[in-house]
Symmetry: C2
């Protein structure tokens, strides 16, 4: 073991890094690779040169109407008083829309203006001017006319026009081939059996999807172990057969972070370390005149670096504009502390409450892919900004459709697995609505309701004095608002322990045992309030509970800690315990309800939420979980 790690990366600005990159590859980008494709296969592709029509459309003088073709001179003088009689095949022929107008005919009379006399003859009451109701050759496209310019993205109607102009093949920019190289001894394929110490390769498959989405071609290599020579050979091979090489992981400065050394050995490192967060340990290099991008292994970092570095580079190859997302302004719901030294990408949950768009920051862990899944948008916080205060406006790049965000029911408060069930049922009932939950604990929900940031706040708050749930907290914290409670469910709370209960835990008093490691919930959660209440009742001092300081934010994470053995016991709901296959020691039933400001009760989305709570489907779904009972779910109690 030695300590000679290169822990000093540069901290170059993202825009400078991109500029350096594009300058370096200006030559590669000058003369694009192209291919000739059947027009049918060119949807979304980019033209190389301008395309000109080979033939005119229409290709002949065509009738624009159903009617008769005539010689205009023959009709002169016809009017309401002096009709002219025309003889078939001599003075006129019947034609339909699209039929050829042949010599000597030079005009069309609509069938509605023709008076039928007999099989042989018709009468007209109006003169017909030359070329009337005739689509002349080339009315749409004239041979040799420009149809689509160079570097133009082909649309469905471009395809139609090209075909009409006699073009069946065109030259388009070749999709650049992007090599995707996952590395890491711990990496396994999603199809393999997971075991301790192993990590499923998700980054490379996310990159395949991102590559497809932007219009390039992905060439994924199998994951390889952290072996300098192996990775070197793989990179060398990839730079020969692809247009851009993306290597995942090993880009930082750890013992097995070989990528920068390999690039130095085979070519040149242009940038190592970019002032972005997450994503700092990114590398931009060149080998065999091919760009090689080193992307950090943490999934969110990987996403940001691909989006900010690899996608703009691919766009250059495709001569496409960088795909920009819609930007909205939203009001920040809580203070956001930011990094002074980095441009920071903060995933945000958005909700439209009382006509205002409210943004709440999500987990900032670089390893939390769910923060991207749950995010509605990303706030990009400039460096040199220390933080942004709650109530200030932030600009947010949207990841989801703004209509969907505007139609979503915002729920901030306590966590329960039934929130996922309700979310599914809401969308199934009306696909334009959705339920978007943030889990900050019951008291957090009450505070969000006070600040007007949420429609509903799921809570289960026990009043120590009265033993009654929820009402006293509303009276205390939300007395200035008109609040109702929508009845939710009753659920069992209890201790979750490993199967077989190896520490023989009987109840809460056992938390004081020296050999018992507890895992706690965060302050402000209803479960924590319940715990502290019960501990006080028992006269149990928190200083004597090992693990009391370790806080988790959901029931599932507590259950998970117990399952993994990092704790012996946690307090939580039965459904979470059952879901994780744990043993459950019940300590009682509590009421999990939804506080709501009355002004939202008339909104359609809230009506649907209440309908779902009242539905039989919801009752059926609860039966599949364990530890719930319902009584008056969906009933509104005013306070």
């Amino acid at each position: 073991m030695n300590f000679d790690r290169n822990i000093y990366l540069t901290n170059i600005d993202l825009s400078d890094a991109k500029e350096k990159m594009l300058k370096k590859f200006a030559v590669q980008l000058q003369e694009p690779k192209t291919e000739v494709l059947a027009v049918d296969d060119t949807l979304g592709r980019i033209t190389y040169k301008s395309v000109f029509a080979k033939i005119s459309s229409p290709y002949f003088n065509a009738s624009a109407m159903d009617g008769i073709a005539v010689t205009s001179k023959r009709t002169f003088g016809a009017d309401e008083r002096n009709s002219i009689t025309l003889r078939i095949n001599q003075d006129f022929v019947y034609i339909d829309t699209g039929d050829v107008i042949k010599n000597p005919f030079d005009s069309v009379i609509m069938i509605e203006d023709v008076v039928y006399v007999d099989e042989e003859r018709v009468k007209i009451n109006k003169a017909s001017s030359p070329w009337q109701h005739i689509r002349p050759i080339g009315e749409d496209i004239v041979a040799s006319e420009l149809i689509v310019p160079s570097y133009h993205e082909i649309s469905p109607f471009d395809i139609a026009s090209l075909l009409c102009g006699g073009i069946t093949e065109i030259e388009v920019l070749k999709k650049p081939l992007i090599a995707i190289l996952p590395t890491g001894t711990e990496i396994i394929e999603a199809e393999d059996k997971i075991e301790e110490g192993k990590i499923i390769d998700s980054n490379s498959r996310m990159f395949i999807a991102m590559t497809k989405q932007i219009g390039a071609k992905a060439n994924r290599y199998k994951p390889i172990v952290d072996d300098y020579e192996l990775i070197k050979q793989r990179i060398l091979e990839a730079t020969k057969n692809n247009d851009i090489v993306v290597v995942i992981a090993g880009t930082s400065a750890g013992r097995e972070d070989y990528i920068s050394s390999i690039i130095k050995e085979l070519g040149e490192v242009i940038v190592h370390g970019i002032a972005i967060k997450p994503g700092k340990p990114a590398i931009i290099g060149v080998i065999n005149e091919k760009p090689i991008i080193g992307v950090p292994g943490y999934p969110v970092s990987a996403y940001i670096v691909f989006k900010q570095i690899v996608e703009p580079l691919i766009s250059e190859y495709l001569r496409a504009k960088e795909q920009k997302r819609e930007v909205v302004e939203a009001i920040l719901s809580r203070r956001l502390v930011s990094s002074l030294k980095h441009l920071e990408f903060v995933r945000m949950k958005l909700g439209s409450v009382s006509g205002k768009l409210i943004a709440t920051p999500l987990s900032r862990g670089a390893g939390v892919t769910m923060s991207l899944v749950k995010a509605d948008g990303v706030a990009i916080i400039d460096k040199n900004i220390e933080g942004i205060e709650a109530g200030e406006t932030v600009k947010i790049e949207l990841l989801k459709d703004i209509d969907m965000i505007n139609n979503s029911i915002v729920s901030i408060g306590s966590h329960d697995v039934i929130m996922d069930v309700i979310a599914s049922l809401v969308t199934e009932q009306d696909k334009q609505y959705s339920l978007s939950s943030a889990h900050v604990g019951s008291l957090g929900g009450i505070m969000a309701m006070k600040r007007g940031e949420t429609h509903i706040a799921p809570i289960h708050l026990l009043d120590e004095k009265t033993g009654v749930y929820n009402i006293s907290y509303i009276n205390k914290y939300l007395k200035k608002q008109n609040i109702s409670i929508i009845k939710g469910v009753k659920r069992e709370q209890g201790l979750m322990v490993e199967k077989g209960n190896p520490k023989n835990i009987k109840g809460l008093s056992d938390l004081g045992n020296d050999d018992v490691v507890f895992v706690n919930r965060q302050k402000g959660s209803g479960t924590r309030i319940l715990l502290d209440y019960k501990m006080k009742e028992l006269g149990l001092d928190s200083a004597n509970v090992v693990g009391y300081e370790r806080e988790m934010t959901t029931h599932m994470m507590v259950a998970s800690a117990v399952l993994s053995g990092s704790a012996d016991v946690g307090l939580g709901i039965k459904s979470a315990s059952t879901a994780m296959g744990l043993e459950f020691i019940s300590i009682g039933e509590e009421e999990y309800d939804f506080a709501i400001d009355d002004k939202f009760l008339k909104e359609e989305r809230i009506k649907i939420f209440i309908d779902v709570l009242k539905s039989n489907t919801f009752a059926d779904e609860l039966k599949k979980l364990e530890g719930y009972s319902i009584e008056n779910a969906g009933k509104i109690n005013k306070y």
Copy 2:
């Protein structure tokens, strides 16, 4: 021949037609078809049910840092004055980010905070709290947690999270299969040889692209002739094997418009005739419980009906929101007369001039596919609106990217094929810029400049008195503005006649011959002004010129009329004559320049336009065409 055509279609509102349709197919839409796919293949697909994690991620307690794993208790008491020495394998192990934290270790110290002593020992100067720098099991995803809800469109990071959650396959909505049936005796395939009376089938291939774009699957049938029984059999077959059937053409009320009768025979016609323009003769029907949509054959009508009727229906099958386009407000550049009885879709050219977005209506012919290719957006004009005045604001659904529109050089004025050449060169020079030309003749360009609707106006206007081009017109019409002229090209004007010159035309005086049919340009075009000037010189009366009233708007359309034999001669530029393989009788050289308001000269896009005119590439391209010479191209002359 008989007259019993069903010429009476209904005129139901589009919204009512859609409502009727969706109501009719509510049953078909209730229980969607699904399929199970590998997660990798689900980008952009819609989930059926909610998907929950099978395993936690991380799957084990993992180090979040490079450093050493320790037992937190062993570190208590360490501080700057009292360092604690730890022994390898006994008190600590070296670990990298992602490594498993195994019992008894419960804490990680960053390598930066570790003091190396020797191979066996390190020192620490700070206590380490339990679970510090450890990513607990399930930090990202806890087993059984919701990853994506039902009816959710899969994104690249959804794929990553699903894989991390141990999901390798999910159930998604099956892409509905859309049968596309082109009909018409005159229809040929794009690959076939075109001949008089034939029309290339472009609609069905446009529909394939539109179907793909929206996320469904196209099943195109070969075109069939207008034979009642044949079409009936084809439709019957298609309704059995597809989810939605789209029949092209034959939907109106002509002699061979069989579709409504066939649907009546096999099933039910729900709607025939919708109050939209273009697109009125659309049919919505049902056969074998499958929706069948009859789409008119004119390409623009076909596009509108597919977009407005078929796409929303497909969206319902996909449980996707109807794809809405971005809407902008623009100032109408000229009066728009609208249909009182129909909702009208008017293709619009947009340009950003002096910070205002200006909209100019394009050709409204239902057969002009190029009006879609050239359009930047579509204005949807409500029925019961007679017209909209110039200067009023209209809402426009964008077909192209607004940034592209904002960066486009707007040119309104005379037509010349070199405008296409310049357009290509501008984009090649800087892909964010483009040149967008509208051809309204030289005087039309001057008027657009006066109204502030264009950056440049290509003109070639001869002053009859002085014989000097362009300047006198600017002095006359644009005296209130500061106008410069950017020198363009000199080009030859002359008479275009069929190869071999069968009517033996020697010069303009021959236009007076009785057996010579002329084709003219529109009033206000420079070529028309030249013609009228020359005719006056010759004392030739327009009443004696056959075809003087027939006006075309471009040189290419004049050439096309001569080539097709519908005229014997036209006046135009040599490059157009050569492009169409005609014989050319020169009558002289003229100056084709660009008027510009000085305030635009400092704009980057105009600088690029001028650079292109001055470039060698432009000079080279001109040499490939015939009839041009340059001298000082790109030079700015102030007036």
